[in-house]
Subunit: 242 residues, 2 copies
DNA sequence: CGAAACGTTGATATCCTTCAACATGAGTGG
DNA sequence: CCACTCATGTTGAAGGATATCAACGTTTCG
């Protein structure tokens, strides 16, 4: 099931910067496999040694940590085009797990070839670093939410962020996009309980912010939802925009 | 006030991997300045454009984000040897601020020379990526705390982490190390209020976990403090270790 | 059809925030 | 040297946001 990088559907979406033929051919060389995994698979386990590096080709995944007593925190979500396993590959062992949220396709970049990438293709090495920094910025944003935003603000912020990321990948049509998280995932990402997440989402839904059906989510009032993410004040949130 | 990389005191501490003469001389070349800034300086502002990259030579700093209404979240702390401004440099603009927590010395690696580093010194480019991943892992850990740990657990986890980082740098002697955070910094890093941070610290202090004096902190019961970071149960926490 | 996963709702408990007051120490100008 | 201010730390009381518990509804799927 070898999928050639020359025909990569992902690159075609326009999000990614153009790549020279030489770079492309190099990528095609080090890509050593194309995996398809079902939703729920643990792609990388905490304490895995010798972990490989992947690129998400299609589907969603998430990074998470758990405490000994089972409390779980989702760190960030991975969408097509994201690197998967960079931290693990740099440290020879993961401090976190990664789980497939949907059925997922991955391109394998074996650990032992990463060094060649740095040595021979500095532009690509730069891109790896860039992607790593972008992932960190997602974690930053989530930490800002969990530390300082109310439950309603957190939910609003996460939905808006995921919407924008999906949109950039061309996965949104008319405000609707596939939204594979259940309420437990949301709760674990936002540092809330499942029950409170449910009640707060119900409130935002009643306010007309979004609707959900068949695993898809539709933003029905993106402007206000974005405003809520910055500061939720029941009285103010719904006033007409100036 | 040019400080030569050949005599870098930081490298001498043994934490950093050995570097070839050629690498060292390259670093010495691109290092374009040595800054000394007083505590409280904003080194990088949110929305700065054209931000440079630095290495912390001595002192502490922290990365943070603020919401429009002033709520602040500290993302992570920067100690000697850490890169400062990588995310900002990769994106041409910072999504966060960085502030000096103590008086601080920085080595300047100008933005325009980063590319040369990737092109000419792949080992160093690799180190940059490695340092970026390590910073992300600190943010991960803090997110785990803020999302899923109780106040006492968060404080314990942060103090233990900072202790270990300081120790690795040789900044600890007999369980004591310089601890420049005030309670507002702790609260902002942990997603807590200043008042509750104070009360919870008082409790841990009363339990004999640590003492503070003259800007220094001493761990008086590191084993138990580490256990508390994983799961705090008043009844269980103080039982003798098996 | 039955079981399992997921979502919903109300009642109660608790952790943490907010407010307010006061204490302490460092720095500053008179 | 003293009064003053400002930043920081401390403490109690009261309120609120979120957790926990428990029950039930709904959907999915073998």
């Amino acid at each position: 099931m070898r999928v050639s990088c020359f025909k990569c559907a992902l690159r075609a979406c326009g999000l990614f910067k153009p790549v020279t033929p030489a770079e492309l051919s190099f990528i095609n060389d080090i890509k050593s496999g194309h995996l398809t995994l079902p939703a729920g698979t643990e792609i990388i386990h905490a304490d895995d040694d010798n972990p490989d590096l992947y690129t998400v080709y299609s589907g969603w995944a998430f990074r998470f940590k758990t405490l000994p007593d089972g409390r779980r925190q989702i760190l960030n979500f991975l969408l097509p085009g994201d690197l998967l396993g960079l931290q693990a590959a740099m440290f020879d062992a993961a401090q976190h797990g990664i789980e497939a949220l949907t059925d997922i396709e991955l391109c394998l970049l074996p650990r032992r070839k990463i060094w060649a990438l740095f040595g021979q293709r500095p532009e690509l090495a730069f891109d790896v670093t860039w992607l790593g920094s972008r992932e960190e910025s997602y974690v930053d944003e989530n930490l800002m939410s969990v530390g300082r935003r109310s439950a309603a603000e957190r939910i609003a912020a996460l939905i808006v962020t995921l919407y924008k990321r999906a949109d950039a990948l061309g996965l949104v049509s008319k405000g609707t996009f596939a939204f594979p998280l259940n309420q437990q995932h949301l709760a674990d990402a936002l540092g809330l309980s499942r029950v409170h997440t449910n009640k707060t989402m119900a409130r935002l839904r009643r306010m007309g912010m979004f609707t959900q059906a068949n695993g898809s989510l539709t933003l029905t009032n993106p402007r206000v939802l974005e405003r809520i993410a910055q500061h939720f004040d029941e009285e103010v949130a719904l006033r007409p925009l100036v």
